[in-house]
Symmetry: C2
Subunit: 404 residues, 2 copies
């Protein structure tokens, strides 16, 4: 039984015309596969428009109600896509996350898929229908609609591929695949034919919007090949798969740039045991993800604790930190949303000493100041001012000869 | 335990500003009632916009997918209204039709409510929350989303009032209440302080958009008072309730005008037993509602069968009638969408002979041709050309002195 899972992003279904094009592509896929499951995101800017409405009604909208609101975007696009499929004679049915049996955790706006009961999906597939699942959403134990966070449709798609035993999950988007850098920043960026899960994971964590980090983790865990392709052309795209398959490990596969980051600093924290824990426990309790962390001793008995978060979380972070700073007897809280995180990623980096030095050199020669640094086995990240971001990516891309 | 059910129509929640005004009104109601349930329609033109998208993708969109699509409008407005309520400190939660336990028949786009399991609604009410239910929708036995047809939010509201034991259901709309005629057609139309279920039922059936016919039937059956009010002012509105309570039965309470009607005629049908049944059985099987029917013998052995349907059903009606006419050996099918149904309604009509003659006289004096006539105990309807509609309503309104 040959089964294929495809996911189409919001830009792929942004207009009735594009929805029709996607429907034709799905109908062609159905000729080659007995069963086709399609996961679809909301049309174009729908989610942003709904968020805009919400913000007109509430400075900090209830997460449960936000989920109720924005989950409608995918419900709409899935129904419209099925209408287009039926119009060209391709039997199909749309299902919400709940109808697809996607059971999630109870955390609104950032839920995780806990389980999928594929009964209904399988039933409809067995009837010969293409099943179009509203991405990005599930239902929690309380029967409330949850969403999986930005890019969550990727997670829906991979989770369905795992549940249904599909070996490949095609991710259709508005770019040709994964590049050595964002082509809008670096015109000479090169398309990668394949990339390892680990590298893609780092790139995704670093702001490459093409795939959701958790979808890659999921795919890696269950060995699902992710095929990132353009929904507008026939180009080959990029295969994301196990590193063992890759010919040789590149030192640096790509440069990433994340503008959706903000820095917060708790100033003059007393140098006592347990202080850092109190800072980060308070953030964890508010379900805020921390990225980079630096603790620096500025003078005797007083430390600065700096960290980065998603820019959207900054207002809540400031509120929480003001409280924690007061409790700890710290001197204050500073923050900066105009920062960017520039990173290089490469599976071969670990065996090539000097990679970090090369990156710092590229930035230094371009006169760009580095505010924070963090590293992993296959990545090096530098926090810089947002205004320098484009120049930084170009300088690093050139220094590592990524265009050739 | 004092419980109130309110329903807000699409025009009442057409913008963030209006949603905020509705939220304030609900918060005030919560001060006077221990429990408040609110049913809300989709924002302004949302449903029409979604239908427009659907029609761009399919000439005749799948009813199941249409329901999946348009049910999102109410889901959005309910979530947005709850955000506005929370913002002013009024605890609230939004629920979809499915979450509210509204179980419907399986007929898509025209479903009927079969049952309501109020467990979740009661649970949230007991927590002190205003429960905002997405109107117009339910879920059928197959766990598919269904919608209740245009104006279906009224039905949701009355059904919830019945289930929860609320004596009154407030219907908020963009007009002050029920008038003797559409004030846009007749500027001198007068607001009625109260009206019987029966009269309101006829008016609603006749195109008065202020209440859904089935919601009135429902309210009458369970003796729920419907209070039709403007969501923009503090005016008293119109009470729809049992005729026994009304001081005296007016001969004519109002004039209605329904432009959403179309005429079809099966021409030259053989004059044999069972012919009419075959015509209307075919329409019933397609779930098409018939309104007026006239069978006239034009010449020996041949009849014309004329009837009216909702204008939106006309394309399907023509298709079905072409088939039936061929099977019956009829001479052809004619149709006309440019017709209007003008009706007078009044509980006292039954004891006042000559009411019909007065109406026909008003139309005749205005030089307006009557194409079809139908009557019930408390109503008289005439089908005329759409272009004459406004003049017809004005002439009848004046002839029966409805402005005084």
């Amino acid at each position: 039984m040959s089964i294929l899972v495809q996911k189409y992003g919001g830009s792929s279904v942004a207009s009735p015309e594009k929805i029709r094009a996607v429907a034709r592509r799905i109908a062609r896929a159905k000729e080659h596969h007995e069963q086709v499951v399609v996961v679809v995101s909301a049309m174009g800017k729908t989610t942003d428009e709904l968020l805009g409405l919400a913000r007109q009604l509430s400075k900090e909208p209830s997460p449960r109600e936000l989920d109720m609101l924005i989950a409608t975007g995918e419900q709409q696009s899935s129904a419209l896509l099925v209408m287009a499929l039926l119009e060209i004679g391709c039997p199909a049915i749309s299902l919400t996350g709940a109808q697809s049996g996607i059971v999630s955790s109870g955390v609104h706006t950032k839920a995780e898929i806990l389980d999928i009961d594929p009964t209904r999906v399988v039933q409809e597939l067995d009837r010969g229908k293409v099943v179009v699942v509203a991405g990005f959403q599930g239902v929690n134990g309380n029967n409330d609609i949850t969403t999986l966070g930005r890019g969550g449709s990727d997670i829906s798609a991979v989770a369905l591929a795992v549940t249904l035993g599909a070996p490949v999950c095609e991710i259709y988007t508005d770019v040709e695949g994964v590049y050595t850098a964002d082509p809008r920043l670096v015109p000479r960026a090169r398309l990668l034919g394949e990339i390892s899960y680990e590298e893609m994971q780092e790139l995704a964590n670093l702001g490459a919007k093409v795939l959701h980090p958790r979808s890659i983790e999921f795919a890696q865990k269950f060995n699902i090949v992710l095929h990132v392709r353009s929904s507008f052309g026939q180009a080959g795209g990029t295969l994301v798969k196990g590193a063992g398959d890759l010919e040789k490990k590149r030192v640096v596969s790509g440069v990433a740039c994340d503008l959706d980051t903000a820095k917060a600093v708790v100033l003059g924290v007393p140098d006592e045991p347990g202080v850092a824990q109190r800072v980060f426990l308070a953030l964890a309790e508010a379900n805020i993800n921390i990225d980079m962390i630096i603790q620096s001793m500025m003078r005797k008995d007083r430390n600065d604790i700096a960290f980065t978060v998603e820019e959207g979380d900054l207002p809540r972070v400031i509120e929480i930190m003001d409280r924690v700073a007061a409790e700890l007897g710290a001197e204050g809280v500073a923050h900066d949303a105009n920062v960017a995180k520039i990173s290089i990623v490469g599976a071969g980096m670990i065996s090539h000493p000097g990679t970090a030095a090369t990156m710092f050199g590229a930035l230094g020669d371009a006169g760009i100041n580095i505010e924070m640094i963090s590293t992993s086995e296959i990545k090096i990240s530098c926090l810089i001012q947002e205004a320098d971001a484009k120049r930084a990516v170009e300088a690093i891309h050139e220094r590592f000869h990524l265009d050739s």
